[in-house]
């Protein structure tokens, strides 16, 4: 009953719904890109520096080497979304594990894990990611690793604080008195109640991951085999005066993608909020 009302509150918000639909569409286009476009995004198959809407078959124009921009954008979506999703998953797993251990067991384990988390938090995130990718050689795997490594402390701290407060709640204590095992208590009693704030935070982690990937690619640290939005901006930045659209298109793609993820996160936050109140005693 409560779940359906969260869902209703979510789709009741235009911005969140549009964001979600946009992401779905983008995901669909990204998955079907090899069938939608002819050839690879690296293929130089038309006149260089073609302006948008001037030639059928290349609606968004081409870059200085004659590569089709529309194809590049669709393949870029594959990179951005897969990095976003994979990095979020990796962040979730690390953050959940560390946060749950620290929050549920407490004591010296908590102290050690939180000091480690602080160590990662005091280093500028982008600098750490740049160094990691540079040292490990750029590839999808290392980019995901670099992003997850700088993003997990925030999630771990959130999970820890949720666990700390939920552990004291009477229904969790009741489960302990009934003899439920610690792992079962974590998965049945605590986690479902910590899900709402966790989902919201993860959506913002995903937005940051997409931005970080774009920044890395812009700095020339993207996966060299994958066409990505950040790389497209980097490649065309020298021609900003002559062919502005070559930078603008991928820039808009990043903007709308991150905006959509953000709106979905915000929508989730609002949808979960009233549901969290009746649970608390008044």
């Amino acid at each position: 009953m409560r779940d359906s009302s969260v869902w209703q509150r979510f789709i009741g918000q235009p911005a969140a719904l549009i964001g979600a639909l946009f992401l779905l569409l983008l995901g669909l286009l990204a998955v079907t890109a090899p069938w939608l476009c002819q050839g690879s995004p690296w293929e130089m198959n038309t006149t260089p520096m073609l302006a948008p809407f001037t030639q059928a078959g290349h609606w968004l124009g081409s870059d200085m080497l004659g590569r089709d921009l529309a194809t590049g954008l669709l393949y870029g979506a594959r990179v951005s979304l897969s990095v976003g999703v994979l990095a979020t998953l990796a962040t979730l797993l690390t953050g959940l594990l560390v946060g749950a251990l620290a929050g549920y067991f407490g004591g010296w384990l908590d102290a050690v894990l939180m000091r480690v988390a602080e160590f990662f938090q005091i280093i500028p995130q982008l600098v750490l990611a740049v160094i990691l990718v540079a040292v490990l050689e750029p590839s999808l795997g290392t980019i995901v690793l670099a992003i997850a490594l700088v993003a997990w402390p925030a999630v771990a701290r959130l999970v820890r604080s949720e666990f700390l407060s939920l552990r004291q709640r009477e229904f969790v204590q009741a489960a302990r008195v009934l003899g439920q095992a610690p792992l079962a208590i974590v998965f049945r009693q605590i986690l479902p109640n910590a899900l709402a704030p966790l989902l919201v935070t993860l959506s913002f982690v995903m937005a940051t991951a997409i931005l970080t990937e774009a920044a890395l690619a812009f700095l020339g640290l993207g996966d060299p085999d994958a066409m990505s939005w950040g790389y497209m901006i980097n490649a065309s930045r020298g021609m900003l005066r002559d062919a502005w659209w070559m930078s603008l298109m991928p820039g808009l793609a990043i903007l709308f993608c991150v905006l959509a993820v953000n709106r979905v996160g915000e929508g989730l936050r609002i949808a979960f909020e009233p549901a969290r109140r009746p649970g608390d005693s008044t």
């Binding site: 008195v177 009934l178 009746p278």
Partner: protein, 541 residues
């Protein structure tokens, strides 16, 4: 308090609509009442009776979607609806002021209490600083606070609950109001403090000739303070009259039930127990909590300082004490939610003092706990069926057996089987507490530890839950440790009572003997504070 006194406040046919879609259409239906100068009118009702809405409507502080649908409010003959907002503001705090239930949230935590009272005076136009200061100190002294000069600079967190409530009262008295509206001002306080605050209000009322509209759910409080009484049920008028009429000869069934609910008399006198074998034994139980202070310092509080207890089969042991006496810590130690720092604990003669959690888990079915807050003690995201099956499954039953057990215990606590598929938020406080009891019973315990398990409930629901516990005890041969701050509840349910103060059991003995001839001065003081209720107890057959 004669009828000749002029009428101060007159309410006629007041009706307040609730937003559509709720379970009730109106918070108040056609309520009429009047308060004369210098008298105390008690408005009594359970939660949801609309009594707090009445206070808010009088001060024009109704929460946003609610408004007065019908009716007139007259202050000294003048219709309050004709007053604009500035005039209303001048009336609030000057002629009519209010005292709230929770003193901590009524005070600003970042301002000293002197400053807060000072601001009230300033807001109503007292310009002279020295004059304001003198008045604040006078007020703090008047409400019985020690050393008002020093307290002027104290912050709310430095004061006890009772002292805070005194500050709130001092603030309300800043302009010697004609009418004081008090909304459950004592229900968040200990019995002892509760009594002091009631005495204080009574004294102020007499000395200042102030009228009081006192909102409460507790007939014991009504007894102590009311001149006249008005009983409300779900927004409807039930009956009204002088305190003597309503308390001594209630006309309506509902009133009679409410009055009976505060009575200590059990429906069935408890049979005298043959001495059974002990099912729960604690010897010299110790528990410390330590907190770090600065770099090297440590402050250790002894929550339990050597507690000896024994619970025999089929017996109920009441543990009574004020908040902070260590009774909840004791409960948690007895079910091994907390590990004690010293002494020993035996369940059915087996030592479980230092048994590791993993080995204890299999024995947890023997001793179960019922929690205080029916809203926090159920997992909001699990169906009732799942929650009831948790225990049997954890104790190694098959899913089919667990489901069978869930249905069985739900029947035991008097809830229909349809409850299994529903979520906690669909139930009322009393029903949730029944579910909490069912969850504990699902593992077939021999001992129940009930920690303040009725204190969050309305008086009538309290009685139902207590009756349920008595009935279950007889049918299932349960032994119960009943932890409560309420001597009446303990007296009703317990074979023996242990009185706790500052982490120690200062006196324990058979209920009748302990209440009849208390030995320890602390027990005598507790009894005295409850003596306030005595006339009510005698009035009921």
């Amino acid at each position: 308090m004669s009828a000749a006194q002029p009428i101060l406040l007159d309410v006629e046919h007041l009706r307040i609509a609730l937003p559509s879609g709720g379970d009730r259409s109106h918070a108040l239906h056609d309520l009429s009442l009047h308060v004369r100068e210098g008298e105390c009118l008690c408005v009594v009702g359970e939660s949801g009776s609309g009594k707090s809405m009445l206070a808010k409507a009088l001060l024009r502080l109704l929460p946003a979607p609610l408004k007065i649908e019908h009716g007139t409010l007259r202050w000294r003959g003048e219709d309050l609806a004709n007053l604009d907002e500035p005039a209303m503001r001048a009336l609030r705090g000057r002629d009519i002021s209010m005292v709230f239930q929770e003193p901590m949230s009524a005070l600003n935590p970042l301002l000293s209490v002197g400053r807060q009272i000072d601001e009230t005076l300033q807001a109503h136009g007292v310009k002279d600083r020295a004059q304001r200061r003198a008045r604040v100190v006078e007020l703090l002294g008047y409400v019985g606070l020690p050393d008002p000069e020093r307290l002027y600079h104290a912050y709310p967190f430095e004061l006890s609950g009772g002292q805070r409530q005194r500050v709130v009262i001092a603030m309300a008295l800043a302009f010697a109001p004609k009418l004081l509206i008090a909304d459950e001002p004592t229900s968040a306080l200990d019995v002892t403090t509760q009594r002091q605050i009631l005495d204080l209000l009574r004294r102020i009322q007499r000395e200042q000739g102030m009228a009081m509209l006192f909102i409460t759910h507790d007939f014991a409080v009504v007894e102590a303070i009311a001149d006249r009484v008005l009983v409300l049920q779900k927004g409807h008028y039930v009956e009204a009259g002088t305190a003597a009429q309503v308390l001594g000869a209630p006309q309506q069934d509902y009133t009679r039930q409410l009055i009976a609910a505060v009575s200590a008399a059990p429906d069935h006198p408890r049979p005298t127990l043959a001495p059974g074998k002990p099912v729960l034994q604690a010897q010299q139980l110790e528990k410390h909590f330590s907190r770090r202070l600065g770099w090297w310092g440590r402050r250790t509080t002894r929550a339990l300082a050597g507690v000896d207890l024994q619970l025999a089969e089929g017996e109920t042991l009441g543990i009574v004490g004020e908040s902070g006496s260590g009774k909840s810590t004791l409960g948690r130690c007895l079910v091994r939610l907390l590990r004690s720092d010293g002494g020993s604990l035996h369940w059915h003669g087996r030592d479980v003092t230092d048994l590791p959690e993993a080995r204890l888990r299999g024995q947890r079915g023997e001793v179960q706990m019922i929690f205080q807050d029916p809203f926090a003690s159920l997992n909001p995201r699990q169906r009732i069926g799942t929650q009831l099956m948790t225990g049997p499954l954890a104790q190694g039953r098959s899913p089919a057996q667990a489901a069978e057990k869930a249905r069985e215990v739900l029947g035991l606590v008097g809830l229909p089987e349809t409850a299994l598929a529903r979520y906690p938020h669909e139930f009322s406080g009393g029903q949730r507490q029944r579910i909490g009891i069912a969850r504990a019973l699902a593992v077939e315990p021999k001992v129940l530890i009930a920690d303040e398990c009725v204190s969050a409930l309305d008086a009538l629901i309290q009685v139902q839950i207590l009756e349920l516990l008595e009935d279950l005890q007889r049918r299932l041969k349960l032994s119960i440790v009943f932890i409560t701050h309420d001597l009446r509840v303990a007296a009703r349910l317990s074979d023996r009572i242990a009185v706790m103060q500052a982490g120690q059991v200062v006196e324990q003995g058979a209920t009748a003997a302990l209440l009849g001839q208390p030995n320890h001065p602390y027990t005598r003081r507790l009894l005295q504070d409850f003596a306030l209720h005595a006339p009510v107890l005698e009035a009921t057959p």
